[in-house]
Symmetry: C2
Subunit: 370 residues, 2 copies
């Protein structure tokens, strides 16, 4: 018995569901706008962790992908992706051994570096294997997360350039603070421009110091498709634009009608007229609360119904202001506040088109978090 | 190459690690105290989702286990557990079909019921299959989550008793509000007693109405091992007592020296003297923040070091008040605020004894959330 060809409502719950038509539209719209600005797409796959979706992005013109973890890159390489950038600092003996093995079976591999310890470890193992590794210098653009301080970037790049097996090919930053403080189209476009200015400034600084900076990498979901020609970047690493979520709607990155990901849940109890209980809680929706709108989930087909509280196995839907009441046994779609943390709870994703299950994909890189 | 027999530090990060000695002690201590009070243990396995740990609980005298989901029960039945109680309301055609299949291969199976819709669905499919199903009446003891209202419990039980295939065997409540508002030993013992009073009151009410109430089920982790003889319960469903976590330490349920579960993480950057970045964020520790102590993780070997902020792949460790600084490349153990939500992110758990990996278990019921 297969679920393929069955209606959405035949899926057992809780389950992760993607609307294929919306996802295809999201990919095409964002890629087209990016290519129109003469930029490359190198989407971050940590949002979907699914080789089939990565292949859709490549088919829609992405030059390659970005991963957070070696484990994700291993899965994507096996899944047929040829050009992989790992946008995180990697340290440790096991990771170095895995990185060399990955490089041997991946036509194009690059990683981010932000510390001499990490850079030296990578250079040592690649040198010993008789291989070269392309690296992107990660610089802190003000998000205060990772990356070398701008004032130390030239000295750091100079030192990395001295290492035998590493080749500096570019610069990257994660400048989410411009995107996530913006609200609405004009501010998002402005945020994308500000991000481009800052990161291309870093690139210029390193170029002036004699480094060959070919790739200038930025990107976040709110700014996806909003970078203009001449913004100073060369490639965009946005990821969640394939799905969007409630936070992105609140920011103004996409209307609710473009949100492609939801959790299918069943109403299991209606203890009071104001409250319905669904079978998706912290393990079906995640503990993530909306960053703008307060709540754990929204029911697009029942306007006004919102998940206001969760525990491990249950979500509490407040129906006080809902368009209608919910009934025990009925299945409802719930849009999460943030897609990547919700997706990370599931092993499978149901691809649905026009209310019919078209495919079921393994979220093959989930749990591959080392 | 196997990791078994290797030192803790050989494990690639982030990774979930259980201290075997502590877990064995936790299980023995809680079970012994429970048996001393002439109560049965039926631990909730949603905290660990691992058949090997369920088998340790059975070996330590548990009468059976409690599950939240049919998927968990399927895995545990395959893992050799003979007596399973599903403590949640189940509805829907697919779930009913799976429940019958599970009953056929599990010597003792029981479920909770709290709505006529759910009860009727179960009775219909079991009746059609020529089988009987034991059910526990779930009553809301004031936690305001699920369960029928106490005032409606007798009428509900009467109606359930009319259904052809269901046999009422007991009553259950989840009365966490007594446990989680308590602080320290005396209040926890008092909370356990209050819980026993309320739930056994429900049992009496149903017995008085003519129902044969053999099982009276309660339990939470803070109160585990703190129920006294004559408390009115017959079986305890606590779960996280095998591990404990920072929240349990804050409540006073266990000292930090009994916490058995931690995440092994690597320091990947030290951007400022006050801040170290580890490779465990929302996907390695969870978004859960401590319910008493504010934070996402604590480093037991580095007193004063605390994870104060997380994003998807990184944890920000504040070392301002730490006993020492952290170095890039070093591996640190991090105790999460809440064990079950952290464990739910991983596929494997490393069983470590005296600093050496003794076994690696698949968290086989993780992701089995339908």
């Amino acid at each position: 018995m297969t679920i393929i060809g069955e209606p959405l409502n035949a899926i057992d719950t809780p389950a992760l569901v993607v609307d294929m038509h919306r996802m295809e539209e999201n990919i095409l719209r964002v890629h087209r706008a990016t290519f129109d600005a003469h930029l490359q797409m190198r989407p971050h796959i940590k949002s979907h962790k699914t080789p089939e979706i990565a292949q859709m992005q490549i088919a829609a013109g992405a030059v390659g992908i970005t991963c957070a973890k070696i484990g994700e890159a291993e899965v994507m390489s096996t899944g047929g992706i040829d050009d992989i950038f790992i946008a995180n600092s990697l340290v440790g003996e096991t990771k170095m051994r895995r990185l060399v093995a990955l490089a041997k079976r991946t036509p194009k591999l690059s990683i981010a570096v932000e510390s001499m310890e990490a850079a030296r470890q990578a250079s040592d193992v690649f040198d010993a294997a008789g291989l070269e590794l392309e690296v992107m210098i990660e610089i802190d653009a003000g998000a205060g997360r990772t990356g070398v301080a701008p004032a130390k970037a030239v000295a750091f790049a100079d030192a990395v350039a001295e290492l035998p097996a590493l080749t500096i090919v570019g610069v990257m930053s994660y400048a989410s603070h411009f995107a996530y403080t913006a609200r609405g189209e004009a501010e998002l476009v402005e945020g994308a421009a500000r991000e481009g200015e800052i990161i291309s400034g870093f690139a210029e600084m390193l170029s002036d110091a004699g480094h060959d900076i070919r790739r200038i990498s930025g990107g976040s979901t709110p700014t996806a498709g909003r970078y203009q020609e001449g913004c100073g970047l060369t490639e965009i690493r946005s990821g969640t634009y394939v799905f969007y979520d409630r936070n992105q709607v609140d920011i103004g990155a996409a209307p609710m009608e473009q949100v492609a990901l939801s959790v299918l849940a069943t109403v299991v109890a209606t203890p009071t007229p104001e409250r319905a209980i669904i079978d998706a809680g912290t393990k079906g929706l995640s503990q993530q609360v909306g960053s703008v709108s307060d709540g754990y989930g929204w029911l697009p087909e029942v306007p006004g119904a919102k998940v206001v509280k969760i525990n491990d196995e249950h979500g509490f839907v407040d129906v006080t202001e809902a368009a209608r009441k919910l009934e025990i046994g009925e299945k409802v779609r719930v849009v999460p506040p943030r897609a990547p943390t919700c997706l990370n709870l599931y092993d499978w994703i149901y691809a649905v088109r026009d209310g019919v299950v078209e495919d079921v994909w393994r979220i093959a890189a989930r749990g591959r978090n080392t």
